[in-house]
């Protein structure tokens, strides 16, 4: 089976790098240069890595996203406690350089295997566990001011898309309005080098939490009736879905509405899409969408939609604790409607899933609930 043929195609062939790849390669070269220069001048080689801890994260009130502060942590080669992580950082940088030069991408697990080896003449492993490699990848991202995707690393691939959009993906034209019941699987890397938007008839994006809810909206062809794009992220959306939403919002100027469960987890998903996550604050600049709107479910929906007691799910202690934490997030703390929303869930004493609306009618969520919320502009910001 074509083995001879493939044996001739060495995978180390260099592809022509895109402008963005060239920029990343330059940054990698600069990084290497600082080490070489220091060595030549007989100075200690070191890296100043922006600090990725909570103490260095702040909420930018103007941009309305989470940002990293300006603190950095110095990592030195000639320091017994820092030498290994210094070398790991350089190793990760050289691994991503290899990926970019070969025009290939891999997962963070793949990069770990690519770089893991016993250091010659020792019994020391470059990395013992993937958990040792992952934070170094994050260091490389902030150090190089590059998204993970720009370093040719992909995350888990989850989530699907349908709707009034035609795009090009790696040269193939994808008409998201002709994707049947299955939909277009959102790639984990959706950067402009891979995905270009070609034609958009959509007026907004509806992002739902779960694939099961997405299937209901797709089966009812909600996106055709209301001229929109429909996405889901199978829970907390992975990076690819967040970047896709970001690009749809910023490049195509589409409002993004989220339909999530009325529970602390739903609030949290919204918070991450809107402001970014605390752990990966440095990504917010190119992932967070401050303009995202929370369409529901709302704590008032039990009364508003006249739901039956049967669909209530009692809050547990964890729910109550999480709800209070989220209410104190700086971007929720000063917003009265959000305080009221979370307070009402707590005083309700129960949470509600989007699927509970099916107790009204199978298509209540697509034919009544969602169109009404958008028509009335009744959402939380």
């Amino acid at each position: 089976m074509a083995r001879k043929k493939t044996a001739n195609q060495t995978s180390s062939k260099k592809s022509t790098p895109s402008p963005r790849d060239r920029r990343t390669l330059n940054q990698l070269a600069e990084l290497a240069d600082t080490v070489v220069t220091a060595a030549e001048k007989r100075r200690d080689p070191h890296l100043d890595i922006p600090t990725r801890s909570l103490s260095n994260v702040r909420y930018n009130q103007t941009k309305k996203i989470l940002e990293m502060g300006s603190n950095t942590t110095r990592r030195q080669l000639f320091n017994l406690s820092q030498a290994k992580s210094f070398m790991q950082t350089i190793l990760v940088a050289s691994g991503t350089q290899q990926l970019i030069e070969q025009g290939k991408t891999t997962s963070i697990r793949g990069l770990y295997y690519l770089l893991k080896h016993t250091i010659e003449g020792t019994r020391e492993e470059t990395f013992n566990e993937q958990s040792e490699c992952d934070p170094v990848i994050e260091d490389a991202e902030v150090l190089l001011n590059s998204l993970r995707e720009e370093l040719h690393l992909y995350a888990q691939k989850r989530g699907d898309m349908v709707g009034e959009l035609v795009l090009h993906d790696s040269g193939d034209e994808i008409d998201c309005s002709r994707m049947g019941s299955g939909g277009y699987g959102i790639p984990s890397i959706v950067e402009p080098e891979v995905i270009q938007f070609k034609k958009c008839n959509a007026r907004f994006v509806l992002h739902v939490e779960k694939d099961t809810v997405w299937q209901r909206f797709n089966e009812d062809k909600f996106w055709r009736k209301h001229r929109c794009i429909l996405t889901h992220g199978a829970g907390q959306p992975p990076r690819g879905v967040r970047r896709m939403l970001y690009r749809l919002h910023n490049e195509l100027k589409l409002p993004v509405y989220c339909l999530l469960d009325n529970d602390p987890w739903g609030y949290y998903i919204y918070s991450v899409i809107k402001q970014g996550s605390i752990n990966l604050a440095y990504e917010s600049r190119r992932m967070a969408i401050p303009g995202t709107r929370f369409l529901g479910l709302r704590s008032k929906d039990f009364d508003r939609c006249k739901l039956s007691d049967s669909v209530k799910i009692n809050l547990n202690d964890t729910d109550r604790k999480r709800a209070k934490q989220i209410a104190n997030y700086p971007w929720f703390a000063k917003k009265k409607p959000w305080q009221k929303e979370i307070q009402q869930m707590l005083s309700n004493g129960f949470k509600l899933e989007v699927e509970s609306l099916i107790s009204k009618d199978i298509s209540y969520v697509t034919e009544e609930y969602t169109p009404a919320r958008i028509a009335e502009k009744d959402w939380l910001d």
Copy 2:
């Protein structure tokens, strides 16, 4: 936003049922008739439900799939301990009838919400938890001799597909060779009423365990070079992916090769694709693919591929226990190559992930490993 328009479209409108839907509706009507007839004749209404326990599961040596035996369990209306589950069964049957008549589908969570209510004049709920409803759905499947999908119920949607196949999905033409980096998201219901195969240039199906590995194969356009269809199921493949593989194998006569991790979980995934699962043995007839081949990773690959010690992952006690259980499955117990395979993993003392091949080269798995195994016909049956 088009609210008035949608208000006129009542969701209870009846669609024209497909021949298969008519068959299922007839079975539902027959079920109801037995209850009515019994009542009219003043006999105790009862249902004889095929027993879904391990004691009633057997491995059919001829068909090489797991099957249910002929034991049934009687469920009576006038029996204090059975009355509730009798009524729940009828309720689930009437819920699926409603779905089929409306031409709509929903998730098992959706059906639970659809049917959950307080019984009039009592404080009794039809179902307290979804965990009470799920086994009743399985009862309905065996009772009606229908797949869950035929009852218009969908499972979680996971997994993507690309390759040399053109299909129709709900009237849309999907060319799986023009799906970019994202791929076609495999629907959870892939029955012939929804999905029709139109044109196939593929010679086989390659099913890989993880989305990250799938991305590697897709990026290298393996499916174009080797004329195949490439699928993944994000771990243990959901029902939609298994049914899709079944249809590709049986209708298009394509061999199915699996590329899974060299660990007990990889063996188990293969076992379920091939013979069916013990818990849902009644589905094997229309889900299991006895002809599926296990391409790798194999326990001999550490030596064969000259991998480095760095990529070994030590087996833990659970791994060893699971491996021995799997070796004793009737469909593995009598196969010497499988006994040797599992025994070698145990004596190796370590497991291997598909991603570990990246330590040879980023594209070793697509350019060397997989083509060589297929060319040499070196797989386990």
